[in-house]
Symmetry: C2
Subunit: 319 residues, 2 copies
């Protein structure tokens, strides 16, 4: 029975990861850490789950926890992952991405454990993308253009040194956009689905939703596919390697709105909210998932249509 | 009369920078910051100098100091620059390179100052060097392979984002090996010169010194040339650009020993101390200084022979 430490355990991705373990009858002790309290249900048959509220900047407490739990695996999901937040609070973003990661791997090093760590990175690390380089492969050098992306690249560079220099087992990801039910509506697709579900609730046949730039194309991956990739990499990924976590398909936000409109039977008009427009944003981001497929046989299972249907249903059930 | 804030003000490079200002009759207010007290003489005609003992991890105190001093320029020399130390204390190395820099630039950003900052980086950022890539040019992507180098690359990535994203004026260096009188004998050439000066003092005609791998080739630059480059970049370098600070010439440690032997008239035998051998060290590091020459007209003035003579004389005077 393996022991898995999860940071960012109160978050969206963590809840799906635990469901993945449970649904696949993977018996495990899970210790979740988060600065915020956890309100997901906690009755599982295969997962023995506990939780500790902690600030990962607290070096000594992390070391104590890791020492007493002796994890076989660490799934490091904790992150201040908003680019917009990072522009306003670059120091907090840096500390709560890079420094917390450093605290974690340093505890594993000092305690001389053979824990395997999955370090989550971001497609933001690629920076401004030349369209000749699409789809993005892992061998491309990062070129971060916002504070959040710098923090993620720094984390990746530290991971490499801890892996190659100290022999700690660290597998790295560059994770692309996620979508899925329960995602907060600060994320674009959840925002669209929520607004359309509200129109539905009001019994409207047409309506307006507020959006950012709909022409941009992103590589969206269902969180249920994401957590499967994380599990496979954590258990079977190659030490010191970086893997894109992405669908390999690009979809424009315009198409997303169209699909949600069809699903709901509501005729949608969009208005652009300038607050949602990011300066210097890439028009198109699409990754290659060849490397992870070759390494652990992972491929996305859920179509974008299935994901959107589940998300729309989730928001309809809330109202 | 310009106001210059210098961090790492108790160090070797800072003392030469202030001498450069004085010798060139550049009237300036200099506020030096360092975690250690400063013991360099402080009677200058052109430089009005003050000093504050401070830990640069103290965010609030830095902000207060920068607010009250309102520097035109910041020369950020403070660093835990030892690679060996960084392997033993990766967290301290990271914090005392990257996080202190972040505190500094963040204070400038928050206070909305038009201060120009020189961010000192290192040739260590280049990592394992393919000999096809010599001499090293700034366009090469960093590939750091030790914790110190990761910290420096993170600092450089932050610099770019602060420069391009926030419009802070930051010029970056990748500085190669320094040499010069007063350098501490933990550095290789100071160590050789000191050992040979000790033999001289004893009146010996031959003797043995302890060394590392003498076949390695490095690009050494006299600290007096370094500080001139720093002054020119600080005042005239292009915002957001990275400049190698190097001689452009490679010299093997074997040649250095030979030159010092000739200068001293002592026949030197060397014995290898395994403690001085660094694993995975590059055999040859040579940089190109074309970019800084084209930008500000800087070229090294002092020959390696002149530097070695001054260093040897310095150590002879001590004994």
């Amino acid at each position: 029975m393996k022991k898995i430490l999860i940071t960012g355990a109160s978050g969206f991705v963590s809840s799906y990861f635990i469901e993945f373990l449970e649904n696949n009858q993977i018996k495990s002790f899970v210790l979740g850490l988060d600065i915020f309290k956890n309100d997901y249900p906690s009755t599982y048959k295969y997962v023995n789950r506990s939780f500790r509220q902690i600030d990962l900047l607290n070096t000594q407490e992390i070391e104590n926890i890791i020492y007493s739990f002796q994890p076989d695996y660490i799934l490091h999901l904790a992150s201040y992952s908003s680019v917009a937040f990072s522009w306003k609070n670059p120091v907090l973003s840096f500390q709560n991405n890079t420094n917390i990661f450093l605290n974690l791997v340093e505890a594993v090093r000092k305690l001389n454990l053979s824990t395997r760590i999955l370090s989550i990175g971001s497609s933001e690390e690629y920076g401004n993308i030349n369209s000749d380089h699409l789809p993005l492969y892992e061998y491309l050098s990062p070129d971060p253009i916002n504070p959040y992306a710098v923090a993620r690249v720094s984390q990746e560079l530290l991971s490499k040194v801890y892996s190659q220099g100290y022999g700690i087992e660290i597998i790295m990801t560059r994770s692309f956009n996620h979508l899925g039910p329960r995602q907060r509506d600060v994320f674009v697709i959840a925002s669209f689905a929520k607004q359309i579900a509200e129109l539905k609730k009001q019994g409207l046949k047409e309506g307006t939703i507020s959006t950012g730039d709909l022409s941009i194309v992103r590589d969206f991956l269902d969180v249920r596919d994401v957590v499967k990739a994380y599990y496979l990499l954590l258990t079977k990924g190659k030490n010191g390697e970086i893997y894109n976590i992405c669908s390999g398909r690009g979809v424009s936000l315009q198409e997303i709105v169209k699909k949600l409109s069809e699903m709901s039977g509501i005729k949608i008009t969009t208005i652009t909210n300038p607050a949602y427009i990011r300066p210097n944003d890439n028009k198109i981001i699409i990754g290659s998932n060849e490397k992870i497929y070759n390494a652990v046989g992972w491929k996305p299972q859920l179509s974008i249509d299935q994901s959107l249907k589940d998300i729309y249903t989730y928001w309809c059930d809330i109202f």
